[in-house]
Structure formats: structure tokens, C-alpha cells
Amino acid sequence: MTLRPFSTITALVALASGCSFSFDADLPEVEITQRGLTVPGVPQTTQASDVSVTSSFTLSSSDAAWAKDMNSDVFVHQVKIAAGGSLPNLDFIELARMTVAAPSIPGVATDIMDYERGAQAPSSSVIQISMSAPVDITAPWSADNTIFEIQIAGQLPGQDWTVDVTLNLSGEITYKF
């Protein structure tokens, strides 16, 4: 028998307090990682200069489990893009941009991060961007489906390649009865 974690906690607290009417849990640090996000390759013949490609992934209430139960004050603190597969590094990425949106909230996309590689940046297989101020994504996160879109520009590989994208979040789970 499998229990949903916060349902269990809520039931436990309800049991403990007779009939709970308010429950909330602060989650100060939650990491959500989308592994193997495929980015389409760009044929070398077409790359006269930097090109841009876009890839996206969706977190739904079913595949992100209880993390989608965070229903208030959901903030992004850090985004990490790690090279997947056989890529030795991500030095070819000159620009990167990530937004979050929800199909149920059309026309509204929240910018999460903008990255620009410096001229003297060391070679690395990980791009890590910490926000100067946490980005509030409560509204799109609370939707059933939350779409993260990542746009990458640079001298991109000719073959499809993959990255792992990690979002470092904080949030609060609140139930009221």
C-alpha cells in the first residue's frame, strides 16, 4: 500500500488534532530535475553564425508527484543545465534563456533566467545560474501542466544532444478544511 506523502501527513495531523482545519508545510529546498531533455541538432552547413534552438518539457501533476502540491509561494532560486550523453562540455552555448508558462494561463510566460557566456569563462559541463532574487512561479506552477521552455543559442552540435535541467525551488504546501 502506497501513501501519498502529504496526504499521509495531513491525515496524521488530522488524527492528532481531532479535526485539523489548517495545515501547511514549508519546503525550503526542493530540487526537480528533468533528465535527458533532447535538444535538436543543427546541421553544420547552416551555421554561418550562432543559431538558436528551443526545447521544452512539461511538469504535470502526475509526473511531478507531490512537488506539484506546492500551492503557494513557489520560487525558483537556481537553474542548473548539465551536459548529458557524450557531450564533453557546454562551452558552445553562448546564450540561454528559460521561461515557464501554463496552458491554462494563456499569454503569460515568466522569465526564469537569462544566461550569457563570458569571454573568459572556463570550460565546464555545467551551467549554473543563481537568481539574484527568487523568481515567483506560483501561478504557472499551480496549474495542472507547467511548461518550461529553454532557448539556447551558439555554435550548436549537428546531432541531437541532451541536457539535464535542474530547478532549485522553495515553496509551501497549504491545506485548509
Binding site: P5, T8, F23, V30, I32, R35, S62, A64
Partner: protein, 294 residues
């Protein structure tokens, strides 16, 4: 028998205090009623007094003594305990000055046979309430708690003790205010339970289909009660029923273990890097008994 009572005679000049009145051995007085603390007038030496068959009724507290005693010539000692005149003969031989007799009950000038003095009984000293007691109560989320109770005044009770919630041991301390000594009460309490394994209890409550959860391996919490209630009894035994609101706070452990196989599908991974803090606010109630032993 002498019945010469001259109530209208001025006992001493109005600008003269009783102690100035020059009382000598012949001065007679009625001491104050210890219960009321009223001071009697002091008769001058040459005043006429009622003597002999003056009768006292009531349940005591009238003090009659010759002026040659330790208080002679001065004010009555209002702090002294009333001394009952136990010997009927002694009682009858004590003179009473007319001015000392309460109005309306003393000998009148018309009949003048018996002086009847009705004196209120001294109130018994209030017995001290026991201060130290043992308290036991059961409730949610308090569990079963045994405490030491201290009642320095009848309107306040402090308690501190330990107990169990069926999972682990804990402690609690609190304060109860009883503005009327009994009846309505208001309490504030804080307690804490150590981490304990809830799986055994959950299996009993839910049944055999439940195979445990890592989330329940370590459950502990702190809580604060704000209760209103009723306390019955006041001296040795007090029974109470309290109810109100409880704020409960605790950390959730082993969340990563709990979610590792639950609901996360495909290429999405969720990891909790820091234990979440859970808070709950809900109704609570408890019943208890205090037995004061000292």
C-alpha cells in the same frame, strides 16, 4: 442589683481620646468585637456602670474584662482573638458600660431589668487552600500527561509534567487562570514530543493492508494549546474539561525515501534537500483531574 445605667451621660470630654480619659482600676470596658474590629468607648472612672445580671447572648466573641488588665486605660486590642467568657458566674459579674451597649438591644430606661447584648460571632479564619497537587489529563494532541500542579492563589494554577502520546515521550508546561477560583478557566500550554515511530500505531489503526511509510519512522512535534474550559471543585479535587485551539509544529523526516517510489515518473526526479517544517492549527480537547495533596 444595680441597674443604674445613664446612657446619656457624657463619658469624657469630646476632645479627649479614650486613652486620655484617665481610666483607672475602676474603669470598665467592653472589648471590641474581634470580628468587626470596632473599638468600644472607655468609661471614665466615676461613671455609673451596669453590673451583675447583665446578660450576654449569642455564640461568643463578646469580651468583658476588668480595666486592670493589660489593656486597661488604653484602646482595646483589636488584633487579639476574642476571649469567650466561659464561666457563667464570671460572665455575670462583669460590668458593662451603657455606652458600650449596642443601640436597640441594651437595657432601656423604662424596663431596665436585663441588658441583652447580641454579639456577632467571629468569623472563622479561612483555611488555606492546598497549594501542591498532582494532575493527570488526557487529550489530543497532548496524549496522557501526569503533572505537578501548583496553586499559589486560587485563581491561578501552574503545571509541568511528562507523558506519552502513544508514540514517544514528551513534556508539557502550562498556566491556567481561574478568575473565580473555579468554573470558567483559560489555559495556555506548551509541550513537545520526541520523535517516535508511528508505523506500529498506524498499522493498528489502518489495518493489515498498511505496510508502513518512511515518513512515519520519525514523527515528533511541539504544540501550543490555547484553551477555555470549566474546572469543577476547588479544594482537594478539581475535575476539568478544556477545549480550544492547538498550533502544532514539527519536521517531516525521510521525505526523499517516501517519494523515491511514489508518483515520480519518467525523466523527472524530485529531491528534498532539507526537511520540511509542517505546521497545523486545529481544535483540541482534554479532560483532567487535579488532586491537591499539600
Amino acid at each position: 442589683m444595680a441597674q443604674d445605667v445613664r446612657a446619656d451621660e457624657e463619658p469624657y470630654p469630646t476632645d479627649q481620646t479614650p486613652s486620655d480619659a484617665g481610666a483607672d482600676d475602676s474603669t470598665k470596658r467592653v472589648a471590641s468585637d474581634a470580628g468587626t474590629g470596632q473599638m468600644p468607648d472607655l468609661a471614665p472612672a466615676d461613671s455609673h456602670v451596669a453590673t451583675a445580671d447583665t446578660e450576654f447572648t449569642g455564640v461568643g466573641a463578646a469580651v468583658v474584662q476588668p480595666a486592670a488588665g493589660p489593656n486597661a486605660g488604653g484602646l482595646a486590642d483589636s488584633t487579639s482573638q476574642p476571649r469567650d467568657v466561659e464561666d457563667p458566674e464570671e460572665r455575670q459579674s462583669q460590668p458593662v458600660h451603657a455606652a458600650d451597649l449596642p443601640r436597640g438591644v441594651g437595657p432601656s430606661e423604662q424596663d431596665g431589668e436585663l441588658a441583652v447584648v447580641t454579639v456577632a460571632a467571629a468569623h472563622p479564619l479561612p483555611r488555606r487552600l492546598p497549594i501542591l497537587g498532582l494532575m493527570a489529563d488526557v487529550g489530543v494532541p497532548d496524549g496522557l500527561i501526569g503533572s505537578l500542579a501548583i496553586r499559589p492563589w486560587n485563581w491561578v494554577r501552574f503545571c509541568a509534567g511528562g507523558g506519552t502520546n502513544g508514540i514517544s515521550s514528551g513534556w508539557r508546561a502550562g498556566l491556567t487562570l481561574l478568575p473565580f477560583g473555579a468554573g470558567p478557566s483559560a489555559s495556555l500550554e506548551y509541550g513537545r514530543y520526541q520523535d517516535g515511530d508511528v508505523n506500529t500505531l498506524a498499522k493498528k489503526l489502518i489495518g493489515g493492508g498498511f505496510d508502513g511509510s518512511p515518513l512515519l519512522d520519525r514523527v515528533g512535534y511541539g504544540y501550543m494549546n490555547a484553551h477555555l474550559g470549566l474546572d469543577f471543585g476547588s479544594r482537594r479535587f478539581v475535575f476539568f474539561i478544556h477545549g480550544g485551539v492547538t498550533m502544532l509544529r514539527g519536521q517531516i523526516h525521510n521525505l526523499n525515501a517516501a517519494i523515491s517510489g511514489a508518483g515520480v515518473t519518467g525523466a523527472t526526479e524530485v529531491a528534498v534537500e532539507q526537511d520540511p517544517t509542517a505546521k497545523a492549527i486545529g481544535p483540541s480537547v482534554k479532560l483532567g483531574l487535579v488532586f491537591y495533596i499539600w
